[in-house]
């Protein structure tokens, strides 16, 4: 990584909710913006303030061509530069880093929103992510893609229904301590195992709940970070990686894209063995099976040993998703932003009831596309 460093100076999260019927996403973003400004006192002066905003949203979920057009004002982007990350939000942080490292900007605001409750069904939308002839026709979507991956991975790793239930129960226990999580009610394994099958082997409670949310953060160059915070969180590595498209072309259990992204991100951050260096991990677990699977891809667990990893309390050992993760509810597109925000709070010692001691280095991971076709990895350090 270049000699310069980039810091997160502040993060703000909107509380996730299953149906924020009374609020436009503009209103959600405005709350986040005001929170960030209250924390740091930055402004949008054309010389000394924020001149660049990297937003993150989705045209389909917003039902708007150019979804960022509807939010320019609440991002503070009037007469300023604004670009939309149209992928999963963690990449918005990666790109905002690049703007600062390039020397083009020294302050960048990252803002993401998504209201999953607005469209009739998120599966209907992800179906439109498949090609119109070979994929859409079969009714493929991100849920049944995940189910195919879940079966293949469970067979390879020995993961059972009990393991999945254990993951969900733990996620809710963590979420209970996170004021921004959507589903904070503690549940028992029996309830998970008794929840209806959505798409075998995925049950309703193995899947993340429909959620509305918004997240923001202020990024600054090393020289300017101290103007805004005493506790900068340094972004020391970012990478992402793309796998092939057709399921048949991929080994759905191989973590090809995640391994590529993790390897490159670790290299940039100078991390040789994440098991030794990394104190905390936030993964984008849209479905329960993904927690151990992504931990394999990130290098915390041997290939195909997901079940053993759970049995050995690996989730606790590596402090995985103390925020409750996506399983407790945050929307697609910006789940990675929530992951990074939670990691940053831990590194700043501001994670409240979730706080654990001695967090120096954290990993945030997110994924995009059906069955983890695309992965992003961000390294954050105190």
């Amino acid at each position: 990584m270049a000699a310069k460093r980039v810091a997160i100076c502040a993060v703000a999260q909107h509380k996730n909710d299953s149906d924020l019927w009374y609020k436009r996403f503009q209103g959600m973003l405005l709350d986040v913006l005001e929170d960030l400004q209250a924390q740091t006192g930055f402004d949008f002066d054309s010389e000394t303030g924020v001149r660049s905003i990297v937003s993150c949203s989705d045209d389909f979920f917003d039902a708007r061509t150019i979804s960022n057009n509807g939010v320019t004002d609440v991002l503070g982007a009037q007469y300023r530069g604004e670009e939309k990350m149209a992928q999963e939000g963690l990449n918005a942080i990666g790109y905002a880093m690049a703007q600062i490292l390039a020397g083009h900007e020294d302050l960048v605001l990252v803002m993401g929103h998504c209201k999953e409750s607005q469209p009739e069904s998120r599966e209907l939308i992800s179906n439109l992510g498949f090609d119109p002839f070979y994929g859409r026709a079969l009714g493929l979507d991100c849920l049944n893609a995940a189910a195919l991956q879940a079966r293949a991975y469970m067979a390879k790793s020995g993961l059972t229904e009990d393991h999945l239930a254990e993951i969900v129960v733990r996620a809710r226990q963590c979420a209970a301590r996170n004021p921004y999580a959507n589903c904070r009610e503690i549940i028992e394994a029996g309830k998970v195992k008794g929840s209806p099958m959505l798409c075998d082997p995925i049950r309703q409670l193995h899947a993340y709940p429909v959620s509305d949310g918004a997240v923001g953060m202020l990024l600054a160059s090393e020289e300017r970070a101290k103007e805004f915070t005493d506790k900068p969180v340094w972004l020391t590595g970012f990478a992402n990686c793309m796998d092939s498209f057709f399921f048949g072309d991929r080994d759905l259990t191989s973590n090809f894209a995640l391994k590529g992204a993790a390897e490159r991100a670790y290299k940039k951050a100078g991390i040789k063995d994440p098991k030794k260096t990394v104190n905390l991990v936030e993964v984008m677990d849209a479905y329960a099976y993904q927690q151990p699977m992504w931990m394999e891809g990130l290098g915390f667990c041997k290939d195909g040993q997901g079940a053993q990893f759970i049995d050995d309390a690996g989730l606790g050992k590596y402090k995985v998703n103390l925020s409750g993760g996506m399983l407790a509810g945050d929307p697609v597109i910006i789940s990675g932003l929530y992951r990074a925000a939670n990691a940053a709070l831990q590194l700043r010692g501001e994670a409240g009831d979730m706080q654990v001691p001695d967090v120096k280095c954290a990993v945030a991971q997110s994924t995009n596309g059906p069955a983890g076709q695309f992965h992003s990895v961000l390294i954050l350090e105190a």
Binding site: L20, W21, Y22, K23, R24, Q26, G27, L30, E34, F44, F60, A63, T72, D73, V74, G76, Q78, K115, S117, Q118, P119, E120, L124, I125, L128, P132, F133
Partner: protein, 389 residues
């Protein structure tokens, strides 16, 4: 007559009655004039599912819309799709006086697309009849017992009886006595119908096909057979490139929040509610959560208007689809920018103006809103603005 792409202008008009789809045009009552420089003028009158095509010597009279082509190549090229109609319109080689919408919406609906004739298709009725047994689909004809007679006059024609019974099909020369139905037509019409170059419906409606006997049975026969494919045409046909047409539709629940909630609440009471920037005083209409310039939240609402002054006006001639209904908008209509009374000078409100007021509309004119009889707090509450006399 000049020939382009293997077609003359006359070919196109001569085939019009055959390509006409009466069912699609049963609600239409319109005369369309055509002028093709160097070739002549035609008037096409469509009335309640009938069509009349006549060549006109003098001026085109009584036509709602006239289409003018600069030359035969343009006319034939755009008809065949070899020349982009939009490009021809753009450069003025094709000109429409009257409703341009017709070209895009009505004509494709009521006519089968003109295709240049294959250099005299070598297929004759006899050839098609001879493939009937191999095209027969017993699965579709279970339990059917009928005899269909064909009396096809002209070259390659003849008389045949097709017997369908017990899931079997046979063809016999001549007409049987106990026919379920008899169809009489020129052999070339039969060939055209089988090749899909003539609309069967129009051939029946226009009287080119005569039916004796059970009409329902005549209609049903096509189901029992696979489509006839011209073996000669196959080789010369352009390769098939597959397309699918779909309408992607996602239902949504749009939240108003307080900003739009107040706006709709106002509409219900026939009021324009704007919110005011506490810093610069801008009255935002429709209201927004924030003033973009000052970056401060706007919580105070004020009532504007109801009357106002036009600051800018656009007359729209282009018929675009209304994304809320999918229907094509009626043109022309006007989109006006109106500075409502009480509004800050930097914030105009955009809306339609009453159709009858279009000619008199100008910047600076005073207007007043016209509301729906019953206002419900939605975007249909406000009908339009009209000139305030």
């Amino acid at each position: 007559m000049a020939e382009f792409y293997g077609t003359t202008v006359a070919d196109i008009f001569n085939t019009m009655p055959k390509r006409f789809k009466p069912e699609e045009a049963k609600d239409e009552d319109i005369a369309i004039g055509y002028e093709c420089k160097g070739e002549g003028k035609w008037k096409v009158t469509i009335k309640h599912g009938t069509i009349k095509v006549e060549e006109v010597k003098g001026d085109l009279k009584g036509c709602a819309t006239t289409i003018h082509a600069a030359d035969a190549e343009t006319f034939i090229g755009t008809t065949l799709g070899k020349i982009q109609a939009m490009d021809a319109l753009t450069t003025g080689k094709l000109r429409v006086v009257g409703d341009v919408k017709l070209l895009m919406t009505l004509l494709p609906k009521i006519f089968v697309q003109y295709t240049a004739p294959e250099k005299k298709s070598s297929v004759v009725a006899k050839d098609i009849i001879s493939t009937i047994t191999e095209r027969f689909r017993p699965d579709k004809a279970a339990g059917v017992d009928m005899k269909v007679g064909y009396d096809l006059a002209g070259e390659g024609g003849g008389k045949w009886t097709i017997v369908i019974k017990d899931g079997k099909c046979a063809v016999k020369e001549g007409l049987a006595k106990d026919l379920t139905v008899k169809m009489t037509m020129p052999a070339e019409i039969y060939v055209g119908m089988m090749l899909g170059t003539i609309s069967g419906e129009s051939a029946f409606t226009s009287g080119q096909v005569k039916l004796d006997g059970d009409m329902m049975a005549a209609g049903a026969t096509s189901r029992f057979f696979n489509k006839f494919v011209d073996p000669n045409a196959k080789a010369s046909e352009a390769e098939e490139l597959i397309t699918i047409k779909v309408t992607n539709s996602i239902n949504c629940r749009f939240a108003t929040g307080t900003a739009y909630g107040m706006w709709f609440k106002g509409l219900k009471e026939k009021k324009f509610l704007a919110n005011v920037c506490p810093k610069c005083g801008r009255t935002q209409i429709t209201p927004r959560e924030i003033c973009a310039f000052c970056r401060v939240r706007c919580n105070e609402f004020v009532e504007l208007g109801p009357r106002g002054t036009i600051t800018a006006a656009d007359v729209v001639y282009f018929a675009s689809p209304d994304p809320l209904t999918g229907a094509v908008r009626e043109t022309p209509y006007a989109m006006c920018w109106i500075l409502l009374d009480n509004a800050s000078p930097q914030e105009a409100f955009c809306f339609d103006i009453k159709r009858e007021d279009l000619p008199k509309m100008k910047v600076g004119a005073r207007v007043r809103p016209v509301w729906a009889k019953e206002t419900k707090g939605t975007f249909t509450d406000l009908l339009y603005f009209e000139l305030d006399k």
